[in-house]
Amino acid sequence: MEFNSLAEFIAMGRHGLYVWLSYGLTALIVTYNVMQPALHRRRLLKEQAQRLRREKRNAPSA
């Protein structure tokens, strides 16, 4: 391992700010990209279920 302690790892040889800012922003953008399709899917399924229920209700009863 390149670092002897956690403090040294976080400091990144005085470049900690740059390294962790880069990784932090990337984590944010990647998290958004992973969450977006999951949330969108949930919304689509909910709308679709509502639509199906409505169709059933409006259909002439046999």
Binding site: R14, Y18, V19, S22, L25, L44, L52
Partner: protein
């Protein structure tokens, strides 16, 4: 081979087939993307030796380079999907092109942001109008342009066609990005990874980069599949197979 390719093409054109087959791929893609990301990041952040000139700031490379390479490949794939839609009118291709745009833009943004942050300790500035940086910024704007046009027109078909044409015209920017570091010898360093030459990096530095590259591509495939499935659910909502799936 040709027969097989033709068959695959026709199957890929079927939203139902795509939706069903990818159901099984998702967990595997997620596992591979996750495991490779963890391995690549641990090796890159903890075990790779510090760069003799740049120190530890060079560790930004493990997200910067894969994101930049992916942003360009994604653009090419988006343009190809657009061309398939223009030529063969395949709906699936239009939806794939549509979902690639925001994902590609995200990776392009990652490359630009991490590049700027890396530039500060290395070049002493966040931004210069260097040819590489400028052409990458152009790529981001091309993505934004494609995204805007995809929603600009009343008819979906017209929007997809116009977006595909812009995507295809914008392909000229890709070789400009690639050769910018050779044609204009400015601040940005030349390519770290090339297909033709033996890498100049130390293996302990190189391996994490290659692993992160694999991870990024798998993550991209996963994101494209997830978003395409949502497009299918929406566009095919009135089809019987979607309704049947919902009721069961």
């Amino acid at each position: 081979m040709w027969q097989w390719l033709k068959q695959l093409y026709h199957r890929m054109g079927s939203p139902k087939w795509f939706y069903e087959i990818t159901e099984r791929w998702i967990p595997w893609l997620a596992i591979v993307a996750g495991v490779t990301a963890v391995v690549g990041l641990v090796l890159g952040l903890l075990y790779a030796p510090a760069d003799y000139q740049q120190g530890d700031s060079f560790r930004i490379i493990y997200i910067h380079v894969p994101a930049a390479i992916l942003a360009q490949s994604a653009y090419m794939m988006m343009a190809v999907a657009g061309a398939v839609y223009l030529i063969w009118r395949m709906k699936m291709a239009a939806w794939v092109a549509k979902v690639i745009a925001p994902i590609g833009a995200s990776f392009c943004l990652i490359a630009l942001l991490t590049g700027a942050i890396w530039g500060k300790p290395t070049w002493g500035t966040w931004w210069v109008w260097d040819a590489r940086l400028t052409s990458m910024l152009m790529l981001l704007f091309l993505y934004f342009g494609v995204m805007a046009i995809q929603q600009a027109m009343e008819s979906e078909d017209g929007s997809y066609k116009a977006a595909a044409i812009l995507a295809l015209v914008g392909v000229v920017n890709i070789p400009i990005i690639k050769y910018s570091v050779e044609w204009w010898n400015t601040l940005h360093q030349p390519a770290t990874l090339t297909l033709t030459e033996k890498p100049s990096m130390h293996p302990d530095m190189l391996w994490p980069l290659l692993i992160m590259l694999v991870s990024t591509y798998v993550l991209f495939a996963l994101l494209v599949i997830l978003r395409t499935r949502n497009e299918i659910l929406w566009h095919e909502r009135k089809r019987s197979w979607v309704k049947k799936m919902m009721e069961s």
